[in-house]
């Protein structure tokens, strides 16, 4: 038998659209299984709201297994809530206690306008990836796996960076609204691998400059690393910075062509 939590007060941000003013709304959950995930708890609340003839709360979610990066939510002032290295969908009610008041807000950044309630538009992260977060292989069949030898530590480091699910918690948690952890992760993932070398400096230059169009700047607080559901290290930011400087020296002639 699973235990139950009782009388949870939710203080939830409601907002009709991008340009309408929003406010907190209070709801009470009388009883919830501690095995419920945070999102299941919101589902239950939404059912209550719909039964009472009210509008359901809009929030983002998709895989509910911590891999898609769609869920978001600022829970009690922490991106993805109190549990380290965990996306909101993997956060369970056993991390809370009966009688708690839980505050839920959307991510806030000028690059992430609110669509409705708790849902924001994170398209600028896609703009960054479009500008360089890929490897061009425009011809030929798929090469055999393991054709290119990659030392294990390099593969591991690239894999650690590749864990980024693009949720935007780093931007949400950053006091400056900077996306350096996300961009650093995407840059590091490809720039460490042999397949990424051809476009290495173009990639970092384009991605850093696209990032600049939407986001704030990094002041090395480290809040992003603490909030990241994949615990991506701010080491990736240093890798990006180092490669950005090199891009300005190495690729100058080629890149300055219009």
């Amino acid at each position: 038998m699973s235990d139950k939590l009782t009388y949870i007060t939710l203080k939830i941000w409601r907002q009709g659209g991008p340009d309408t003013p929003g406010q907190f709304e209070h709801h009470v959950i009388e009883e919830i299984s501690e095995e419920a995930s945070f999102l299941e708890m919101l589902d239950i609340l939404n059912e209550q709201l719909i039964e009472a003839g009210k509008e359901a709360i809009v929030f983002d979610h998709d895989c509910r297994e911590g891999i898609c990066g769609t869920c978001s939510l600022m829970i009690d002032g922490k991106a993805h809530g109190p549990e380290k290295g965990t996306a909101t969908c993997q956060l369970h009610m056993r991390k809370f206690s009966s009688g708690d008041t839980i505050t839920v807000e959307p991510w806030r950044a000028s690059a992430f306008p609110i669509i409705k309630d708790l849902m924001v538009d994170r398209a600028p992260l896609d703009r960054i990836v479009e500008s360089g977060g890929f490897i061009s292989a425009e011809t030929g069949g798929a090469p055999d796996a393991n054709l290119i030898p990659i030392p294990k530590p390099v593969a591991d480091a690239a894999m650690d960076a590749a864990e980024c699910i693009g949720c935007g918690a780093c931007v949400a948690a950053c006091p400056n609204g900077a996306a350096n952890l996300f961009t650093g992760a995407k840059v590091t993932h490809l720039n460490l691998l042999p397949q990424g070398q051809a476009e290495r400096y173009q990639r970092v230059e384009a991605m850093v400059e696209t990032m600049d169009e939407y986001f704030g700047s990094c002041t090395n607080h480290g809040e992003c690393e603490a909030a990241c559901p994949k615990s991506i290290s701010i080491d990736v930011i240093a890798v990006m910075n180092a490669d950005y400087l090199k891009s300005k020296f190495k690729n100058r002639k080629k890149l300055s062509r219009t």
């Binding site: 480290g222 809040e223 490669d243």
Partner: protein, 272 residues
């Protein structure tokens, strides 16, 4: 305030690059990452100055030395030495002015970049969180960089007016470092000001020294675990060294003795 999504040009795809680039250094400086490099490099110049300045000032604890048969303050001799740097390759004070030029340039660039980045960061979150944030690792030092920086900037102006130009020091005698130091720091409010400003500088350097490693891309498992320690070390060194001067003047350990020969007299005698 409404939030709107701006879609800028997609710059790195096969479509090709749009606008022509600015000259190399300006192009680099135009991005936030470039500005952080500038902050870090000018910060390193600043740290280099602050640490050597503090170590040079420790000469007040040597007191007097005998030079040309006369008793003079060691720190006054050191002041003359700085003005005589690279003489006779360069005329007197020229090299000192070159060093000063680098410092002034560094401080101005540092402030310009800090201003640009602060504006950018404000724009990145026009609507603040409406509930309290629970910060996990951002500390007091990292969150007050702008304020400690402004305190340090104002203090630099005061410090020059006090001990370089002498405007803020009624008993000022040009070139007599020991006398001026004692005269200025014997005033209790001034002594307190020096202590407060240097604590602000220490807080600034505690975050700044750690931060510059990341900004410069200096990240290596070989030394990563030392970075926070290095920052604490630099900050402590500067605060302890610099705060010792006002404290020791107040305690009477540093006390000007008018019978000691001034460096000016010494030089006049040497010229005769």
């Amino acid at each position: 305030m409404s939030q709107t999504l701006r879609r800028g040009p997609v710059s790195g795809t096969a479509v090709g690059r749009g606008a022509k680039r600015k000259p190399f250094l300006l192009d680099f400086y135009s991005t936030a990452v470039g500005k952080k490099y500038v902050m870090a490099i000018t910060g390193i110049i600043g740290i280099g100055f602050v640490v050597s300045h503090m170590i040079g000032n420790l000469k007040v604890y040597i007191g007097t030395v005998t030079e040309g048969g006369q008793e003079v303050y060691d720190i006054d001799v050191y002041g003359e030495f700085l003005r005589d740097l690279l003489v006779p390759i360069l005329p007197r004070t020229v090299f000192l002015w070159l060093l000063r030029g680098v410092l002034i340039g560094a401080v101005l660039l540092h402030i310009h970049a800090a201003y640009g980045l602060t504006v950018m960061n404000r724009k990145a979150r026009p609507v603040k969180y409406q509930s309290a944030r629970d910060y996990e690792v951002a500390n007091f030092a990292s969150r007050t960089m702008r304020w400690t920086g402004i305190i340090v900037a104002l203090f630099i102006i005061w410090h020059l007016a006090d001990l370089t130009w002498g405007w803020a020091n009624p008993d000022f005698v040009r070139g007599e470092v020991y006398r001026n130091l004692d005269a200025s720091l014997s005033r209790i409010p001034v002594a307190i000001l020096y202590v407060v400003a240097n604590i602000a500088l220490g807080i600034h350097l505690f975050h700044g020294t750690w931060s510059l490693f990341q900004s410069m891309g200096w990240n290596n498992p070989k030394f990563n675990q030392w970075r926070k320690g290095a920052a604490a070390g630099v900050a402590t060194l500067v605060v302890v060294g610099n705060c010792s001067f006002p404290i020791m003047v107040q305690a009477g350990v540093i006390e000007f003795d008018p019978t000691v020969t001034s460096v000016h007299e010494l030089h006049e005698e040497a010229a005769e």
